[in-house]
């Protein structure tokens, strides 16, 4: 099984799906000749041609809207938003259109669309190349939202998204592109949408999160185990919508102490809903108040290195929060 980077796994998923189904195509800014600003689509135009890997005009609403039109007649577009920060011109197409096509037509039409967008900071991108867009779309029924942490899941979830009959937003963390490296099978597999995944078994505290911050939680858990004998149970949500309620409840019951982590800012974030589910379903099984460690409630991440560092989660911040919860 080859070791590959998170970004390679995403690219491989697209390549495999395009080989498997000629209706799958990629469109977006700079995705063709250049292969994407992060090289996510590198080599795809060479293999599949200009017709299936389309360099579009710089207009996000058209990228989404054209993809929606094609999807409604059975094509399987993968629309790339260069940064999730630039996805907002397409929100009307995504929320008013893609999310509602099945519902408003009473199941007559559907929209098997995938929108890929890099999220998150840690690359000195400043306010408009670092945001997490998931809470903007979270809570819009009709959309599915996935945000993989591992390379294995990135490949499997993207393949599942392409085959899904409904619109899926695929949020890939740009800091994970090169940071996460692991064994990824070259064969055809999918990771089902809607299923969370326990990435570490433990008995003292539960950490629930998604995307890059889980990388810090895994490192912190290792250290806390070795240094303090604290055993952390970690749940990767993987799919943000629909949330895997059963897995959230089960992981909570396992330890009775929950820390929710994400890079998106705290207020109105996915963690708020996870906390609400826990409160509704198993409040009296908790041994400590539900904790959240998230990006601060400021408009976006500043570019200056100390400020970016202040904004971002890291191993030490996550470790401290885990320790405090364990000691509660």
């Amino acid at each position: 099984m080859p070791v590959m980077e998170y970004i390679d796994a995403i690219r491989l998923a697209m390549k495999e799906e395009m080989e498997r189904d000629e209706d799958v195509f990629v469109l977006g800014e700079d995705v063709g000749v250049k292969g994407g600003v992060f090289t996510t689509t590198k080599g795809l135009q060479e293999q599949f041609g200009e017709e299936r890997v389309i360099d579009t005009p710089l207009a996000e609403s058209a990228i989404a809207g054209v993809a929606i039109g094609a999807a409604m007649v059975g094509m399987k577009p993968i629309a790339e938003m260069q940064y999730s920060d630039f996805m907002l011109p397409a929100t009307n197409q995504i929320i008013s259109e893609a999310a509602k096509i099945r519902y408003r037509s009473n199941n007559d039409w559907n929209c098997p669309l995938v929108v890929r967008a890099p999220i998150g900071g840690g690359i000195f991108g400043g306010l408009y190349h670092s945001q997490c867009a998931e809470s903007i779309f979270f809570g819009t029924p009709g959309l599915k939202i996935v945000a993989p942490y591992s390379a294995y899941d990135a490949k499997g979830l993207l393949k599942a998204a392409v085959r899904d009959p409904d619109p899926v937003l695929f949020f890939e963390h740009k800091k994970c592109y090169k940071l996460i490296k692991e064994d990824v099978p070259e064969d055809d597999y999918i990771v089902p949408i809607g299923k969370a995944n326990v990435i570490r078994e433990g008995s003292d505290i539960t950490v629930i999160g998604y995307s890059l911050p889980l990388h810090f939680a895994m490192q912190a858990a290792e250290e806390l185990e070795n240094e303090q004998g604290i055993s952390a149970h970690i749940l990767d949500l993987r799919t943000l919508q629909p949330l895997d309620r059963d897995a959230i409840i089960e992981s909570t019951r396992k330890t009775g102490k929950v820390l929710i982590i994400h890079e998106d800012n705290k207020t109105g974030g996915v963690g708020a809903e996870v906390a609400a589910i826990i409160s509704e379903e198993c409040l009296f099984e908790l041994d400590a108040p539900i904790q959240r460690l998230c990006g601060p409630d400021v408009p976006a991440m500043p570019i200056s290195p100390p400020m970016e560092k202040f904004f971002m989660l890291n191993k030490d911040k996550v470790k401290e929060a885990m320790l405090q919860l364990a000691l509660y």
């Binding site: 005009p57 509602k100 199941n107 039409w109």
Partner: protein
């Protein structure tokens, strides 16, 4: 007789390749749409339905455009005033009234959307929404799919001049211009965006914008069925030849208020409206048919009686049809297991 004089003796519709039957059918759909619209207005005034948005004054262009397309194969993205269009491509009166009464069997939305929000896969009418002009990029996407699958079909999309100011209009047309896609984009310029007249909506002409997209832009008299038919037909021929999109601006006048919730005399004068009734394309079409011996007052009366009967039956059966079950509100957010 030489070839030249034989052409000149042909009537307008024959020159365009329309048979006598077709041109009479066009008129029938125009009149049907007008009567449907008037009746819906009455139903709202009588308190039978909550809302109606009217297309009176726009039927001639709508029906003429539909007849210039391949009504068996092309894809259609009409906007909320396009009753004449959807009737012409096969939607029935009963189906329209099922939507008006928000009944379960409404093919447009199963009673979920406002009337005038068309959608019917059987007729290749693509589901639409209320935020205006979002359908233009969709039409471009359908045309892209047609090009990729090498199908000789087009997508046809309409909207008003007010909504031609939306970004999606520009983004969609530019994309289509770059990719030379088989899409026909027709603005039904009815002079008003609810209350705001064109002089406050448009700095220039909608059709002139085509220049910036590298595509043909044509302004046409929307009250002239034959001119609309001609430009749409030519646009379709260009599209299937692989020569790309066409922007058409059909000039007309919204003779009714914006909707049943609107008092139009708050922002325009009765004189102005009356003046525009004189330009209505519907009686002109009738006169054309009479002048060419294709229609008579007797036929008109008989058709009106027939339409009244059809309206009565359609309303009755739509009114009696069941509402959706309240709990069906929860259905079709996502595909069910095994569904596409």
């Amino acid at each position: 007789m030489n070839a030249k004089s034989s052409v000149s003796t042909k009537s307008k519709h024959e020159q365009l390749g329309l048979s006598n039957t077709e041109v009479v059918d066009m008129y029938k759909y125009m009149l049907l749409a007008r009567k449907y619209d008037e009746r819906s207005l009455l139903l709202q005034r009588a308190g039978k339905i909550n809302f109606h948005v009217s297309g009176i004054g726009q039927e001639v262009a709508q029906v003429a455009a539909a007849f210039a397309l391949d009504r068996e194969r092309d894809y259609f993205l009409p906007y909320y005033r396009d009753y004449g269009f959807v009737l012409s491509v096969g939607m029935t009166l009963k189906e329209l009234f099922l939507s008006v009464f928000a009944k379960a069997e409404d093919p447009n939305s199963g009673g979920r959307q406002m009337p005038g929000h068309f959608g019917c896969k059987r007729l290749r009418i693509v589901t639409g929404s209320s935020p205006v002009t979002t359908q233009v990029p969709h039409a471009v996407g359908l045309a892209l799919a047609a090009k990729m699958k090498k199908k000789d079909i087009v997508s046809f999309v309409t909207f008003g001049e007010g909504s031609s100011n939306q970004g999606d209009f520009h983004e969609g047309l530019n994309f289509a211009g770059v990719q030379k896609l088989p899409v026909i984009v027709m603005c039904e310029n009815n002079q008003y965006a609810i209350s705001v007249p064109i002089k406050k909506q448009l700095g220039g002409k909608v059709s002139d914008r085509a220049l910036g997209y590298g595509i043909p832009g044509v302004q046409v008299d929307g009250n002239d069925a034959f001119e609309v038919y001609r430009v749409v037909k030519e646009a379709r021929e260009r599209a299937v030849r692989g020569e790309g999109p066409t922007l058409i601006e059909a000039m007309m006048y919204r003779l009714s208020p914006h909707s049943t919730s609107d008092n139009d005399l708050a922002y325009r004068t009765k004189e102005e409206v009356d003046e525009n009734w004189k330009k209505d394309g519907l009686p002109k079409m009738k006169q054309y048919l009479i002048d060419h011996g294709l229609w008579s007052e007797e036929q008109e009366e008989s058709l009106l009686r027939e339409i009244q009967q059809q309206l009565k039956e359609a309303i009755m059966s739509a009114e009696q049809a069941p509402f959706p079950k309240p709990e069906d509100t929860l259905l079709h957010v996502y595909a069910s297991e095994g569904e596409v």
